[in-house]
Every structure is written in C-alpha cells, then in structure tokens.
C-alpha cells in the first residue's frame, strides 16, 4: 500500500502536550496548510517537508494517551496508523514524563514496526536534571530513538534522517512486543490465521486479534469500512 506512493506519508502521533504541533511546524515550516475542521475523519493536519530532495507528507494526528478508542480523537489516530498505511510513524514522547508516554509508544509499536520514537522537550528534561539514556530506551523498545527540542530545532536533522532510513527500509525496527498471559496468547494464536485469511496483509493480524478478544466494536466497524463490506450508511453524524 504505502510503499507504492511517490511521496512517503509520515504520521505524527503522541500524547497531548508533548510538543507535537511545535515539531510539526518546525518540520513543515511555512509550507503547512491546515485542514483541521471538526468532523469524523478529518481531525488531522497535513503538511509537507523536503528532505534530501524528496517530498514527505506529514500528518499531525490528534494527541491521545491511548489508541484503544474511547474517544473520537483516539479513533482517528488509531484508524490512520492502522489503516492509513503511513510509511513511518513518529511517536512524540515527553522527556519529562516518559513513563506516562511510553504506553502509547508500546501500543503503536504493536500495530506497526515502522516507528521512530522522538523524545521531545529534552531541554525541559535537562532543566529538571533528568537524563535520558537514548540507547537503552531504543534497545528496550526495539525502535530508533532520537532526543529533540523542537522549539530550538535541536535533534531535528537526526530525526529526519532516521525517518528517511525507516521509510527506505535501511533501518528495520524490530519492536519488542508485549507477551500476554498464556491464555491470551493461545487465543491470539488461534485467531491470527483466521484474521489473515479474511484480511491478508491489510492489517496487523496479531494486533487486530487482540482487539477482537477485547471486544472492541469500533474497530470492527473500521474494518468493515476498509473492506467495503457493510458500506457506511450516512447517519447525520458524519
């Protein structure tokens, strides 16, 4: 899906207040045009930047703590990462509050391996005398990690370089996946082949199986929309 496009699409995800939009503006400069109006599917802002002569589209997703769809914002972010086929996803985390932020990073690496974790607000963290062990974090998550201070532009060249390498497949992140209880893992193992039989490589089968086990109905709707089964009937809400 994603790889056939000429312009790679990069998703920008993260908790609220991690400086995502600052990063978005720093990367896209004056070229961004916003399309942020209320509505079911368009809660994203799009922009573009050029790196090494190649144009990248950057999609700023709504800030969320989780992808497990309790709210509309979470649903938009989840559907884009899951079904929008981004060529890479930047997960912006707050360096001063890593523990809270890594929940989302783990959830995203469960969906897609093409992730770069951007530990932003590193200047704030320094002020609070916090040290971030970038290499250790990268090793624990299994994805590249870069520290940035988007406000001052620090770390942005490294970020763009990592994203570029992930898009081209020069870096293939191997996220460390959460292993669940044996009961859950057994159930997942049973479901995965069936999910694959229906959807092929369209969606990450392990992740979808986990959500099915949770009984996430909004996801079933999203999959139905994706496969064109059960075409959405306009209801006045969308």
């Amino acid at each position: 899906m994603g790889s056939t496009r000429k312009e790679p699409v990069i998703a920008l995800a993260g908790n609220p207040n991690t400086g995502k939009s600052t990063l978005f503006n720093a990367l896209t400069g004056l070229r961004q045009h916003t399309g942020n109006w209320p509505g079911k599917t368009v809660l994203q802002t799009k922009g573009s930047y050029i790196y090494k002569g190649r144009k990248y589209t950057l999609v700023d997703l709504p800030g969320t703590y989780s992808l497990l769809a309790n709210s509309l914002e979470e649903q938009v972010a989840r559907d884009f990462i899951c079904f929008g086929g981004p060529d890479a996803t930047i997960v912006v985390v707050d360096a001063t509050c890593l523990e809270r932020n890594l929940n989302l990073a783990l959830q995203i690496t469960e969906i897609t391996a093409k992730v770069v974790v951007c530990v932003n607000l590193i200047d704030e963290a320094r002020r609070k005398k916090l040290k971030i062990d970038r290499e250790k974090l990268s090793c624990l998550l299994g994805v590249p990690v870069v520290t940035t201070a988007a406000r001052g532009g620090e770390g942005l060249p490294q970020l763009l370089n990592l994203v570029d390498q992930v898009v081209k497949g020069e870096i293939r992140p191997q996220p460390r996946l959460v292993q669940y209880d044996p009961e859950v893992e057994t159930a997942v193992a049973k479901l995965v082949p069936q999910v694959k039989a229906v959807l092929g490589d369209l969606v990450n089968a392990r992740w979808l199986s986990l959500r099915l086990l949770e009984g996430d109905l909004t996801l079933i709707e999203a999959v139905e929309k994706l496969t064109g089964k059960n075409k959405h009937v306009p209801c006045g809400w969308c």
Binding site: Y65, S66, L68, N70, T96, C97, E99, R100, N103, E214
Partner: protein, 77 residues
C-alpha cells in the same frame, strides 16, 4: 497488612498502591491507560467541595477521577 479499600476512601495527602481495577471493558481500559495498573503508587492530592471528583497524582500527572471511577480502583496502603 492493611486491607483493600477503594481509592475514593483514601484521605487527602495520603498515598496507596493499586491492587485491582474492578471493572471491565472500556472503563477498565481507560483506567489502565491512565496508568492505574497494579503496583502503581497513587496519591490523593485534593477533593472538590462535595467530595467528588478527587484529584489524584499518578505517575507524575494529576488526574481528576469521579467517585464512579475511584470507587472501582482497589488500593492497599
């Protein structure tokens, strides 16, 4: 060993550790996403005048919880 009690029974300024989240489905998911997983230290910071909601400090952030939710989270002092 102190017994289990709901988070809403913890007085202001005191802290406790989460042992269990007594609910299922989306509410459970939500509480877990907020960082209320077993073993987490939670501190009750303050209460609104009528006692609901309460402000609790979880993993570096202060979050307001309604009695509906804070009654579902079981803690150990």
């Amino acid at each position: 060993m102190a017994g289990l009690k709901p988070l809403k029974a913890i007085p202001n300024g005191a802290f406790a550790y989460v042992t269990k989240v007594n609910t299922a489905g989306l509410t459970r998911r939500r509480l877990l996403d907020l960082g209320l997983v077993p073993g987490t230290r939670v501190e009750v910071v303050r209460r609104s005048p009528m006692g609901d909601p309460i402000a609790v400090k979880i993993r570096g952030a202060i979050i307001a919880l309604r009695a509906e939710e804070s009654g579902l989270v079981m803690v150990r002092e």
